[in-house]
Amino acid sequence: MQILPYNGAQLVDLCSALLLLTCFAIVAQRRLSSCVDLFALQSAFLVVTAALVAYLTGNQHLYIAAALTAVIKVIIIPLVLKKVIDRLNVKRELVMYVNVPTGLLICGGLVMLAFFIAQPIIPFGFLLTRDSLAIALGIVLIGFFTMIARQKAVTQLVGFLVLENGLFLAATAATYGMPLIVELGVFFDVLIATLIAGIYTNRLQDAFDNVDTNRLTVLKE
């Protein structure tokens, strides 16, 4: 089936919007394991987006990136995080710095901010994916916000991974992917960072009997 360029752009936009939607779901979710599931779902949407862009533009190396995302972000990282959560004694985020409705409102504002920042540079983009750049920036900002608003080490980690997904979407959307060597390096870094953070979470659990990062207040002025 031949996909017209206009329809192709619509499809890419749809996928990017789904990514953004899962971000809001993560912000609204208190159960740690559900946050991880949502992250896996978001990564799956990312795989679809990347594969779609690869198919529409004929960029072969994007297929590799999509496959790597599928393996690392949809399968391996969620498995690692689930293992980490199994060891924790608290499975839910009970206290948040910002409650859910306020958090959602703030995230809405962040998306508007992202569109505002990206507005001047959008016209230089490729026709197919140019709206996705603003969405990607929005996802980055929401990931940022999640890291600040949550206390559990695991949810902070999920926030970081969401942020990374936003960056990957930006690279896919704005430039049809980075050079392969860079992309491989980024995947490697993300994987190792997650493993290290997982090990840390275990050690924090052992040392503090808790993974609330607001307990980390030994060091201060």
């Binding site: 970081f160 980075m178 060597i181 290290i196 953070a197 040392a207």
Partner: protein, 511 residues
């Protein structure tokens, strides 16, 4: 290009080999061997560079010019000094049972990976590869910082990992934006992030995109430099990490991160007026200088004292780069070198004191001159050098920066260019005067705080039960050499280093 390959291969092999070895003497031997190869390769590269000019190697993957060679020189020197210091430091920690002997090889493995990542970040031609390498430095060092596995070190390590990873992610967004703008000009997708390619087309890149990219990259790598307001991880990490690791973090990693910002800045300056990048750098520089001077004044923990002094000096270097021109840029680069030497020395001394007095509280440390004469001397010298007093070369570089600031002022401090957001209706001369006054005041505050605390530690009588003798060990050698270099460099810069600095300055100054 055997010497370029050796730069990467030496730490890689040494790291792999370290994992299979358990004997401490062997681990140190491997480390010293790898450092020797590194330094030799660096000397060869410097000679080639000075003779034939900048060159690419290994299929365009590596790009070496005066700037990156200069950074390599700092990595090599401080790395070598650390390796000597580590010998006595680690052996004593193992003997005291702080480190299990089986974990020693892990320490060395991570140390080599850290070195490798910094070298790759310095020599990479592609801005993307450079990003990957700088993120890799975060991953390699986070366990080094938390190596003691106490509560405090876990906290410091976690903070470091999260803050730096997030900061660095923002830098990746900047790299994506840079790629976005360069793809429209360069047709070759594989090369569009290479510095060599970017420099040839930099003036045709889209200025809007470049500005946005530079802000993201400055915030991202600025987090790793520890510029205010992204500095909150730095004092914790510097307090908790083992002394040789801190010496590397403060002496080398900060320099490599500054280098990454400067590389980007050169590209942006081709397309955007110089005042944009200069103003931003100077802004962060002043924020760091003033904040750090205040915290130095109220500090009661000597490792944190040196950590804030790092922030202060990075601020000074940033002001130098922000003011720009030949003098400011030269001063900034020279200051990076002086700070790397003086600060690694300071942390060697701090490590010795901590091992003897078992506290990081300044109030509980007295009479270091009686207990550890060598260390007291190192502490005093590094303190004086960090306060930028003559006859140390940091005095020369700080004078260069402040002269540049007083004569040129900060370029377009506020963005008057396109958006016309804020314009300050002050006369040019008044602005220069005020900024210079702020600079000198902060430096004076930092000087007072630093010297007051250090003299308090050096003189007096040590508390009961503290051993009062210091036997000569290999760990004292780098301290003496670094101190000597600081004094010699203030009156005489060896010709190769001077040439490197001058050529690096011409790379950074865009007319």
């Amino acid at each position: 290009m055997i010497e370029v390959a050796a730069l990467v291969a030496a730490p890689l092999f040494a790291g792999g080999l370290s994992l299979t070895v358990h004997r401490s003497a062997l681990l140190h031997a491997i480390n010293l061997m790898s450092m020797a190869i590194l330094v030799t390769a660096e000397i060869m590269i410097t000679r080639t560079m000075l003779k034939d000019g900048p060159f690419t190697a290994l299929e365009q993957l590596v790009y070496l010019d005066a700037l990156s060679t200069f950074i390599l020189f700092i990595i090599g020197t401080v790395g070598l000094a650390c390796s000597f210091y580590m010998r006595s430091y680690l052996d004593e920690q193992v003997a005291r049972g702080v480190i299990a002997p089986t974990r020693l090889n892990l320490f060395f493995f991570l140390f080599h990976m850290f070195l490798l990542a910094m070298i790759v970040a310095t020599i990479a031609n592609s801005v993307g590869v450079q990003w990957v390498a700088i993120e890799a430095t975060t991953l390699a060092t986070t366990f080094l910082i938390a190596f003691w596995r106490r509560r405090e070190s876990l906290e410091a390590g976690w903070k470091y990992l999260i803050l730096c990873s997030v900061g660095i992610s923002l830098a990746l967004f900047g790299v994506v934006l840079l790629y976005y703008s360069s793809l429209h000009v360069l047709s070759d997708v594989g090369q569009a992030l290479n510095v060599t390619q970017l420099l040839t087309v930099a003036d045709r890149l889209n200025p809007h995109v470049l500005k946005l990219a530079f802000i993201f990259i400055l915030v991202g790598y600025g987090t790793k430099v520890g510029l205010v307001p992204m500095h909150s991880w730095l004092p914790d990490a510097y307090t908790e990490a083992p002394a040789p690791v801190v010496a590397m973090l403060a002496g080398v990693l900060e320099v490599v991160s500054v280098y990454a910002i400067l590389r980007m800045r050169v590209i942006v300056d081709h397309a955007v007026p110089f005042a944009f990048t200069g103003g931003l750098l100077a802004l962060l520089g002043f924020a760091s200088l003033v904040t750090a001077a205040f915290f130095i004044l109220i500090q009661h923990n000597y490792k944190r004292l040196f950590a804030y002094s790092s922030i202060e000096h990075m601020g000074i270097a940033m002001i130098g780069f922000g003011v720009g021109g030949a003098l400011g840029t030269f001063g900034g680069l020279f200051h990076l070198l002086n700070h790397a030497f003086a600060k690694s020395m300071a942390f060697f001394a701090a490590g010795n004191i901590h091992r003897r007095f078992h506290t990081v509280e300044i109030g509980q440390v007295q009479g270091v001159s009686t207990a550890q004469p060598w260390t007291a001397m190192a502490l005093m010298i590094s303190g004086l050098a960090l306060s930028a007093l003559p006859p140390f070369s940091s005095f020369a570089s700080e004078v260069q920066v402040v002269t540049a600031l007083a004569s040129q002022g900060v370029p377009g401090m506020w963005f008057t260019s396109t958006e016309g957001m804020v314009t300050i209706a002050l006369s040019d001369q008044f602005e220069r005067l005020a900024l210079t006054a702020v600079f000198l005041m902060s430096v004076a505050l930092a000087f007072g705080g630093l010297i007051y605390r250090i003299t308090g530690m050096v003189w007096g009588t040590p508390t009961e039960g503290v051993l009062r003798q210091e036997t000569w060990s290999l760990g004292h050698l780098p301290v003496i050499l670094l101190a000597g270099a600081l004094v010699v460099f203030s009156v005489f810069l060896p010709p190769p280093i001077r040439q490197l600095l001058e050529q690096a300055t011409t790379i950074l100054v865009i007319q």
